[in-house]
């Protein structure tokens, strides 16, 4: 768990937060069988916020964000995304999923399709866009993540950092209003982590609402406006990054920070 330095100038004036609520989670509980994995989670995310969720493994951080786009179901409490409540109604789920983009730890690109086809698949088949328009948009986002020259290659021919950037572009092609990141750099070699973090910082500067599960504390310090610490299914502490890192309140937070920030 290294601290990769983000050494470019981050224009913090661009990182603004609006008053509009993007995600509202109220008293959410989830069980895997008998195991109580998420306990009484309450969280409000405004549009434009960048939230970093950290914690030891098994704390439920990934499960939490996977509940937001219904990759996991919650048994108690409510989750409201963009004004739509998450229930078993398939239409609502599909609507929410087209507004919420997700990037996975293991990229999950479609290996049988080229990079360009990976990005145009959802706009063409879900939004029913014409192919030309979808391809233009895909090339635009591929350029933004600086990988446009690999558009016709297949995922198996790319490095890990390149694949993750394609995955981010793929999610952006659906014009989501919220982006979820599930440990996006954990499977990458250290020299590739920086290129992915740069893309995520760019994204933050455009005002995207982001929830990021990550161990990259440099990213949290520089870009996040809130850091949440979870342990054993509960939100233990949440604060602005400066306060969180310099002044942790709970003992468990202090223990966690001491483990990851020193080596």
């Amino acid at each position: 768990m290294s601290e990769v330095a983000i050494d470019r100038e981050i224009d913090r004036s661009k990182l603004s937060v609006s008053d509009e609520v993007a995600i509202e989670i109220t008293a959410m509980n989830k069980w895997y069988g008998d195991f109580h994995v998420l306990r009484d989670i309450s969280l409000t995310v405004n549009r434009g916020e960048r939230i970093v969720v950290c914690g030891p493994s098994g704390s439920g951080k990934s499960t939490l964000i996977r509940c937001i786009n219904r990759l996991e179901e919650h048994q108690k409490g409510t989750i409201v995304v963009d004004g739509i409540e998450l229930s078993s109604d398939l239409k609502n789920i599909d609507k929410i999923r087209s507004e919420v983009g997700m990037c996975f730890q293991h990229f999950n690109l479609f290996p049988h399709l080229s990079v360009l086809d990976n990005c145009t698949l959802a706009p063409i088949w879900v939004r029913k866009e014409p192919r030309k328009e979808a391809e233009d948009r895909a090339m635009h986002y591929l350029e933004r993540v600086k990988i446009a020259d690999q558009a016709l290659k297949f995922p198996g021919q790319l490095s890990g950092g390149q694949q993750q950037r394609v995955a981010i572009a793929r999610s952006l092609c659906m014009n989501p209003r919220i982006m979820l990141f599930d440990e996006p750099t954990s499977a990458l070699d250290p020299e590739m982590i920086k290129e992915v973090l740069d893309v995520m910082v760019d994204l933050a500067e455009t005002g995207m609402t982001m929830i990021c599960v990550t161990h990259e504390m440099g990213f949290a310090r520089q870009v996040a406006n809130r850091v949440i610490f979870m342990d054993q299914g509960q939100i233990i502490e949440q604060n602005e990054p400066e306060e969180f890192f310099n002044n942790p309140q709970s003992d468990r937070t202090k223990l966690f920070l001491s483990q990851i920030l020193s080596h």
Binding site: N69, R70, L71, L90, D94, R97, S98, V100, G101, M102, F104, H106, N108, L109, F110, P111, H112, L121, A122, W125, V126, K153, F154, G156, Q157, R170, S171, M174
Partner: protein
């Protein structure tokens, strides 16, 4: 020798250089691969001896001493003591066509040629896509060519799906406009379409056929199923079975993995029951019992019944092979498809099935090859496939006692087709290697 543990900094790049040239040449290859050690050398000599004995007995029997022109087995033995291939020369038409009338034989040849044309664009992606229209029409054309009758019968049958789709398109919007839930409206419309197609096939086709026939009579002389035999019959049953069991197997595999309990239970029960009984029992059911279960007066053609049974049988095996492929796919693929907002059918069609089927190609082709060879079992219920034709031939006084030549001929036929399928599968696997890591 320098001390390689001392601190060290590389002074420049080491350029890549070619590997050392090894000792090459046939003598070196033989020495290395065949005689590298005493056990290897012994195995080489034993293997060479086995190959030699095989060739020494087969080649004279099959090529040097074989008899092509004779009138009976006894006659063969008088001329020479090799393979009596005269029986094949005399009876090869029976092997290929069964008892198909001689003057209509061109129809089955044409059907075979059209089959190659129809299957080509399905197997090879480089072919023009327009050919797929010909492939869709092929079943009706082939049926008409082989069995004869009026052309309106097959046309009527092919119209069935089109009529069903029109019925669905008419009813679905009407139902959706009412107050019932959209999912239920869709299901009712589908059930209506299914009812329409069944009724059309049972009653409408006859009426359609009769009326159009009285206006314009286009037809070929009828050839009954009892006359169809030989390799023609094997290909009919095999190709129909393969084409039918593939989509049915996919449907059963998806059904078994479904979250809907009813569909899952039905699929599982179907698969386990069919896999639990031998194909021969299903064929007996087809030939004897099925008539008791159908309304009196309806009689299904025997070949159609056999094709249905063979298709169902292969579909059960295919379902398990494909289910293995679906399970081998990383869960992340399903999740990524979900996260992008693709619904169940779209994610299956665009993401999951292309990858799962590619993984399952060896198992799928295995099932096809097994199915094709299983078609010889129909000789047990009296159909005249190549193995079934053997018995009349051997019962003939002239050829009483002949064994190897006949079975060898059938074996070569099956080998050509099965090995062809195997090579195609390897071609397909190579072609679909899209740079996976």
């Amino acid at each position: 020798m320098s001390d390689s543990r001392k601190p060290f900094v590389a002074s420049g790049d080491i350029p890549p250089s070619p590997p050392p040239s090894s000792v090459v040449g046939p003598v070196a290859w033989v020495r290395e691969n065949l005689f590298s050690s005493i056990p290897n050398a012994i195995m080489t000599l034993v293997g060479a001896f086995i190959i030699y004995s095989l060739l020494a007995s087969v080649i004279p029997w099959l090529f040097l001493d074989s008899v092509w022109n004779a009138t009976s087995l006894g006659n063969c033995r008088e001329i020479d003591d090799g393979a009596c291939l005269a029986v094949i020369k005399e009876r090869y038409l029976q092997f290929i066509y069964g008892f198909y009338p001689d003057e209509e034989r061109w129809r089955s040849v044409l059907a075979f040629v059209l089959m190659v044309v129809a299957v080509w664009p399905v197997l090879f992606a480089g072919a023009p896509r327009k050919m797929l229209y010909a492939s869709a029409l092929y079943p009706a054309v082939a049926y008409w060519l082989i069995w004869g009758g009026t052309i309106w019968g097959p046309v009527g049958v092919m119209l069935g799906p089109i009529i069903a789709i029109i019925a669905y398109r008419i009813l679905a919007p009407v139902l959706r406009g009412t107050s019932m839930e959209e999912g239920i409206a869709n299901i009712l419309a589908i059930l209506f379409a299914v009812a329409v197609i069944v009724l059309w096939w049972m009653f409408g086709v006859e009426i359609f056929d009769g009326t159009l026939n009285s206006i314009v009579s286009i037809g070929l002389p009828v050839v009954e199923s009892s006359k169809i035999g030989g390799f023609l019959l094997s290909l009919i049953i095999g190709v129909s079975g393969i084409a039918g069991s593939f989509p049915l197997g996919i449907a059963l595999a998806l059904g078994r993995r479904s979250n809907l309990l009813f569909i899952k239970a039905m699929s599982t029960g179907f698969i386990e029951f069919i896999r639990g009984v031998p194909l021969i029992t299903l064929l007996f059911v087809a030939s004897t019992l099925l008539n008791y279960f159908l309304p009196p007066g309806t009689s299904f053609d025997i070949i159609l019944r056999v094709v249905i049974m063979v298709t169902i049988f292969a579909a059960a095996y295919m379902a398990e092979v494909i289910r293995g492929g679906l399970a081998a796919l990383p869960k992340g693929q399903y999740e990524a498809a979900d996260a992008l907002g693709l619904d169940y059918w779209k994610s299956m069609r665009l993401i999951i099935l292309p990858q799962a089927l590619k993984i399952s190609i060896p198992g799928i082709v295995n099932t096809f090859i097994g199915l094709f060879k299983d078609t010889t079992l129909v000789s047990v219920i009296g159909l005249l496939d190549p193995v079934g034709i053997l018995n009349p031939i051997r019962a003939d006084q002239n050829w009483n006692g002949i064994v190897w030549e006949l079975y060898g001929f059938i074996a070569i036929f099956f080998f050509v087709f099965c090995f062809g399928m195997s090579r195609y599968s390897q071609y397909l696997e190579r072609k679909l290697q899209t740079g996976h890591r």
